[in-house]
């Protein structure tokens, strides 16, 4: 068990390092740090441009490998470099992550929980009305891009607010400025969280219910559940302990991919609701030609995905005794 986890950890660390380097190289190749100096009136003197780019370490005239090494040595000292908008990339990411996590945590847990429950319930009652409704419903949701779900929720909330006569559900940004007192501020934040959380939960529940349904069906067709029933388990206990538990295992094999899917969904929804989270940071970095900010975001994402992948490995080992050997 420990050897398995140690091997996974070393492999993940290696992947994180390579992915970070590749992320920096891709950012340097795709983004143009000179773009924001062009077309200025009066023109920016070349010496100024050069010194600004040199200070940020993003001067295209420096060989790419030298830039990568300088960036990596900064990273080793705990710095992701400076952004073109001023300030440390690392500090900016730290602020934005707290914003993103607010949305991600509740929405993801809710979505995965509902998805797994719906998937199991559908598989147990295969081809009955509940299964049919949730299956067709998930097809429609999965065919809808997350931002469309978000905009439609906003449209519904606008109609609801109009009908009530005052803005009960607020959905622009994480909070409204000007609320006094702890209670008012908390309620305001909760009101702002409602729609993004709902949007993320709907999107994730749809895809997780599909996976979970397919995997539960696979398990139900084996003799595991029947064996447990024969040993005297009740139907519910046999399903939960020997059906669902086994059905969760294949899901953790694609953990890295799944984590990526959750992050992507969250990023799109966060952007649609104009939260100042990680998604917006990446988008503005690309628009500004901000190599350091973009590379920092990619590096952070890679580490996050792999760390959560390791957590999934732990869960996998806990669910599946064969892994622990």
């Amino acid at each position: 068990m420990l050897r398995f986890l140690a091997r996974r950890a070393v492999w993940s660390a290696a992947l994180a390092l390579v992915a970070t380097c590749l992320g920096y190289l891709v950012a340097s190749a795709a983004l143009d740090p000179l773009a924001r100096f062009r077309g200025r009136n009066p023109p920016v003197p070349d010496s100024t441009v050069q010194s600004v780019l040199d200070a940020a370490g993003t001067n295209p005239q420096t060989p790419i490998l030298a830039r990568l090494l300088a960036w990596l040595s900064g990273l080793a000292q705990g710095s992701l470099g400076t952004s073109v908008r001023g300030g440390e990339v690392g500090a900016e990411i730290a602020t934005r992550v707290t914003t993103s996590v607010q949305l991600l945590l509740v929405g993801a847990l809710l979505g995965v929980g509902i998805g797994v429950a719906v998937g199991v319930a559908g598989a147990v009652r295969q081809h009955r009305w509940f299964d049919r409704v949730t299956t067709q419903g998930s097809f429609v949701v999965l065919a809808t891009p997350p931002f469309v779900v978000a905009v439609l929720l906003m449209l519904a909330a606008t109609r609801f607010n109009d009908a009530v006569g005052r803005p009960v559900i607020r959905f622009t940004g994480p909070y409204t400025v000007g609320h006094e007192g702890w209670w008012a501020q908390t309620m305001d934040r909760a009101s702002h969280l409602l729609l993004p959380t709902l949007a993320l939960a709907i999107v994730l529940a749809a895809s997780f219910s599909r996976y979970q349904r397919a995997m539960t069906l696979d398990v139900l067709s084996t003799d595991l559940v029947r064996g447990a029933r024969a040993r005297g388990h009740t139907r519910r206990s046999a399903l939960l302990r020997h059906g669902v538990r086994v059905a969760l295992i294949p899901m953790s094999t694609y953990a890295v991919y799944t984590v990526g899917m959750v992050l992507t969904g969250a990023m799109v929804i966060e952007l649609t609701f104009s939260w100042h989270g990680m998604g917006e940071y990446l988008l503005t970095a690309v628009r500004d030609g901000d190599v350091n900010a973009a590379a920092g975001t990619v590096a952070f994402t890679a580490v996050l995905v792999l760390a959560l992948g390791l957590v999934a490995d732990l869960v996998h080992a806990w669910l599946d005794p064969r892994v622990r050997l």
Binding site: A16, A30, A143, P145, V151, Y257, T264, A294, V298, V305
Partner: protein, 297 residues
């Protein structure tokens, strides 16, 4: 998937003729397949002939109707500069479908090549390709698409389609690899390899024909995924660029005024959702038909 193709792949597959007929029979009897197939056909036909059903031209701006709701003159309403939204949606649908039809099969092709070669050759080639797949899964593909968008948009929609394809083949490549590894031990593949057939020949003549159904299903599903990826990128202004129009760009321009002029958002959204739902229903019916544990028809 005729008996003749199957028969050529070797003695092991003699029995596969009947199952493949059963697959076809199951798919044909599956209402999902009918709904998905018919709706998709209607969407494609509409995309092709739709412009001639209405008098308006895509470039024509009706100066007597700025931002009017759906009406007998303008079925889907008009936008702020008087363009007929029905025609705009059709132009966007064509572009979105083209991107999907280029990117989906291309992604499956890459997955089929990488997965089959890795599974068949094994050894360090397998480990290297698998490590590459793992590496590309570390950073979610939408992040990479956003990062690469300045480069991808420079070449118009074809480069965008290729970019989407090159960032969405990894999971399927793993599935193909796993399937190929089981095929590798079968008699006809071993015989072909020991009699000196090149890897490429074995992949084309023996691996791909046996994975044909899997690959067809995946290509179908990948079309839908690519259409969604395009819409998301374009919504954030990083995909299809002016003057080109796609469903994504229409959604982007329609969303700010969704509360006051909902038709500008709702019609492109509905067309997008109906199209992708039809594609995934079809993919799902094909998969159910292939599942040996599924209900027999």
């Amino acid at each position: 998937m005729t008996g003749r193709v199957r028969g050529r792949t070797g003695a092991d597959d003699v029995d596969l003729r009947r199952p493949s007929a059963r697959v076809v029979r199951r798919v044909v009897r599956d209402p999902q397949a009918w709904v998905g197939g018919v709706v998709l056909l209607l969407v494609v036909v509409w995309a092709l002939v739709g412009p001639w059903l209405r008098p308006w031209d895509t470039t024509y701006a009706d100066v007597t109707a700025f931002g009017v709701p759906p009406s007998p003159e303008h079925w889907f309403g008009t936008n702020d500069i008087g363009q007929d939204l029905y025609q705009q949606v059709l132009v966007g649908l064509r572009k979105s479908l083209m991107i999907g039809l280029v990117a989906g099969p291309l992604a499956t092709l890459v997955a089929a090549v990488v997965g089959a070669v890795a599974g068949l050759v094994g050894g360090w080639v397998d480990r290297l390709l698998l490590a590459g797949v793992d590496l590309m899964l570390v950073i979610p593909s939408l992040f990479l698409l956003i990062l690469l968008s300045p480069v991808l948009t420079r070449g118009g929609w074809p480069t965008l389609a290729v970019g989407i394809a090159l960032l969405s083949w990894m999971v399927v490549a793993r599935v193909v690899r796993a399937q190929t590894r089981t095929l590798r031990e079968r008699g006809f593949v071993r015989a072909a390899r020991f009699s000196g057939a090149s890897t490429w020949r074995v992949v084309r003549r023996h691996v791909w024909p046996n994975l044909a159904s899997l690959l067809v299903i995946d290509a179908t599903v990948a079309v839908g995924a690519a259409v969604l990826a395009e819409a998301t990128l374009s919504y954030f202004g990083l995909g299809v660029q002016v003057p080109d129009v796609s469903l994504g760009t229409l959604l982007a321009s329609g969303s700010p005024s969704v509360a006051t002029r909902p038709w500008l958002f709702v019609f492109p959204a509905a067309v997008l959702v109906v199209t992708v739902t039809a594609v995934s229903l079809l993919g799902s019916a094909l998969r159910d038909g292939l599942d040996p544990g599924g209900p027999d028809a």
